[in-house]
């Protein structure tokens, strides 16, 4: 018995001052086709306890969804929350526990000033020794980016191929937050957040909700969830053996590859790229690129939409937006839409797509393999 994506719904990412988190969830569910009462609801959200002050938010969202009475839980694993929510749903469905599970990812990141959100976000790292000391999300990635540039002799402008490509890819994604073009020079010259990371090396703070109906029935499904796996690693960044290595991501990728045949021919990838440095670290850690070579590959166009290994064809976290708890749900929804030819962006001949999500500098990693139904 397989597990399938039956339907998806999303809201356009951005600032939604006049809509609540619950309004966004309502809109995302209204965007879905063929949504019947599920056996269970899994809610993925990271910041709602802090941003809207609600606990047991899964029950409130279930009421808004119109499925009062259905069992509902919340999953939180930082930036991999959405991926791990789908992984949990996949396991429950594959094990025959349920027939239909609705996964809802939702985040409201513009309810407070940015600095307040940066403080909340810094807690995806070690809270007592990193965020307590004022060390933020961007600063830890900045240290990794500096180390990468030094170790492999790469320039900021070379690395900036990635954000420029993401803005280009987001241009025709109707759900994306940043649909304007940027070039590599403007990325380098933008305002510095934590050097060398500039505003254009970083993801935007957005509001959004996305939903996926996962089912055991292949009838009229959009895509198959072929496999899902996740892994963890040390929390404090100073416990890492190498700042640039993400062992949890490597374990996820190897496991998915081994379980699905060594000749796994993935046509599309979608990886965490909240900062310019992150996708390079992921690609080199999982082995798609050799150490120090992914930046050259990017600049040669290998990861472009029409390149050899297209990655983040809908704009990535960088330009689509990164609504933390909802991010994995957006990635999986968009790729399911591409596999079934129902998404606004078409990549012909796509048979398999893999999503690799990473929290921070690798404390949690989660991967989902999708295939054509």
């Amino acid at each position: 018995m397989g597990v399938y994506v039956k339907s998806y719904g999303m809201t356009k990412l951005g600032r939604s001052y006049n809509k609540s988190l619950y309004d966004l969830v309502f809109d995302a569910l209204s965007d879905m086709e063929g949504l019947d009462k599920p056996d269970m609801i899994i809610v993925s959200t990271v910041f709602t306890a802090a941003t809207i002050g609600q606990l047991d938010i899964a029950s409130k969202i279930t009421e808004i969804a119109g499925f009062k009475g259905v069992p509902a839980i919340r999953v939180e694993t930082g930036e991999t929350s959405g991926h791990n929510s789908v992984l949990m749903a996949f396991r429950l469905l594959a094990g025959g526990m349920y027939d239909n599970i609705l996964v809802i990812g939702a985040e409201k990141m513009t309810e407070f000033v940015a600095a307040r959100m940066y403080k909340e976000i810094s807690k995806v790292f070690d809270s007592e020794y990193e965020s307590y000391m004022g060390v933020g999300h961007a600063s830890l990635h900045a240290l990794a980016m500096k180390e990468y540039m030094k170790r492999y002799g790469k320039t900021h402008k070379e690395l900036a191929y990635w954000p420029a490509l993401m803005h280009k890819n987001a241009a025709d994604n109707p759900y994306a937050a940043l649909r304007f073009p940027v070039d590599q020079d403007s990325v380098v010259k933008a305002n510095v957040i934590s050097d060398p990371i500039t505003l254009l090396d970083s993801y935007p703070l957005v509001d959004g909700a996305g939903a996926l109906l996962l089912t055991r029935s292949p009838n009229s499904a959009l895509a198959e969830v072929k496999y899902a796996y996740s892994s963890t690693d040390v929390k404090p960044v100073t416990h890492k053996e190498d700042l640039l290595d993400l062992p949890a991501a490597r374990r996820v990728y190897s496991k998915i590859k081994n379980e699905n045949g060594l000749d796994l021919s993935v046509d599309l990838y979608d990886v965490t790229d909240q900062f310019t440095i992150t996708p390079y670290l992921i690609l080199e850690s999982i082995g798609i690129a050799e150490r120090g070579k992914s930046v050259d590959m990017a600049n040669q166009g290998v990861f472009d939409r029409d390149g050899e290994i297209p990655i983040n064809v809908t704009g990535g976290l960088k330009a689509r937006g990164h609504p933390f708890g909802a991010t994995g749900v957006y990635q999986i929804a968009e790729l399911s839409g591409i596999l079934s030819g129902t998404f606004q962006i078409q990549i012909p001949e796509t048979k398999e797509a893999m999503i690799i999500g990473v929290n921070g500098l690798g404390s949690n990693a989660s991967g989902i393999l999708l295939g054509r139904r």
Partner: protein, 135 residues
């Protein structure tokens, strides 16, 4: 308004913060920071506290112009990655201007105010590093 940081958490961690206490694994011998009851490398629970050297070398740093809330008065924040010999630590740099700072300089640990909790009237202290003043 509630307090931003728990007083008991701060109280329990203060010795680690002030005296720079890390962990040493008695099984594999490795030293790590922050300290915890299990070795991050071999997962042994046979670990002991160890005082880390207070002088190290600045491996790398980043200047943060948009730090998390609560650090505005200290902006720009300089965050350093420091080599303490057997382990590394990530901490704020202090008593230094952007012109004076460079990779490779010797830095020493000092106790400094990290943040103020105005609603609770508390001042939280912790470690920061400053350049070693040569005579």
């Amino acid at each position: 308004m509630s307090m931003e940081y728990s007083v008991p958490i701060y109280w329990r961690n203060r010795v680690n913060y002030y005296k720079l206490i890390g962990g040493r694994c008695k099984k594999c011998g490795r030293v790590f920071f922050p300290p915890q009851s299990r070795c991050p490398y071999c997962s042994s629970d046979n670990v002991e506290p160890v005082s880390l050297p207070r002088i190290g070398r600045l491996l790398s740093y980043t200047v943060s112009y948009n730090p998390p809330e609560g650090y505005k008065l200290q902006t720009p924040l300089i965050i350093g990655l420091i080599d303490l010999g057997e382990t590394r630590i990530i901490a704020q740099l202090t008593d230094v201007s952007l012109e004076e700072i460079s990779e490779g300089i010797e830095v020493e640990a000092v106790v400094r105010k990290i943040r103020e909790d105005r609603t609770a009237g508390l001042i939280h202290y912790g470690y920061k590093f400053r350049p070693v003043i040569s005579h």
